[in-house]
Symmetry: C2
Subunit: 113 residues, 2 copies
DNA sequence: CCAGATGTACGATGACCGTCGTACAATCAA
DNA sequence: TTGATTGTACGACGGTCATCGTACATCTGG
């Protein structure tokens, strides 16, 4: 139930994510260029799955959904369904493989910002 | 009027560049999120000054001017006038001080394409 | 002085983006 | 079943963006 082990983290994947090799740098940079989305990604930086509602943001639910979709379609995050909740997590491994160091550098820059 | 640049490289600086500490991460990422601008920055990555016309791009002069202004106002590049030419160069030092590793990582990612 | 080269300024246009409200679907607990 | 929770879908609205054409300003070389 509260299991977040690796083996259970892809039970109900959400479609619309690009394959690792199809992740585009421009799309990733654009996704990260919005302050709200950057904040979302920063919150996901701990490697833990977060739901839409578990991240305090100055926007409505609709807008939150929109931003998470942008991040997903850019290949920045992974989403999976669990009950009524949608769990979001960073695609750290894929991003590191495709654009080594990028995510970490941006997150560090955001923290310094 | 004194400046910190070598005398030959700042004879006619162009206004509208943010101070180092005023460079915003969102603005930088947005500036780099356009494929044309990313290509421009990649060409400037050799550390050499380039003019608008010396970079082959699939856009008109007007659009080129527009993109260089976006990069300048985001704090990514420095521009100086020399005759009828406007010389563009990366603000590598400022960017490295403000967001360590960011520019290099993005350029490497762009090269990996 | 004049013609060419370099680049800007300005306006227009079509597309995209961020935001929201409302309505709706799915799940879980009582 | 009923109600609460969680999030999506859809449409709308205003703002921003990328692109271009045209006109203009500035410098340079004959």
């Amino acid at each position: 139930m509260l299991d977040t082990h690796p083996a259970s983290e892809a039970r109900t994947p959400i479609a619309g994510e690009p394959e690792r090799d199809a992740i585009e740098l421009s799309a990733v940079l654009h996704a990260l260029s919005d302050p709200i989305r950057l904040q979302m990604v920063a919150e996901l930086g701990d490697g833990v799955e977060h739901t839409c509602g578990s991240i305090k943001l100055p926007v409505t639910k609709s807008t939150c959904t929109h931003h998470f979709r942008v991040l997903r379609e850019a290949g920045v995050i992974h989403q999976r369904q669990e009950g009524t909740s949608r769990l979001n997590s960073l695609r750290s491994v894929d991003l590191e493989a495709r654009f080594p160091g990028l995510l970490g550098t941006v997150l560090r820059a955001a923290a310094a910002g």
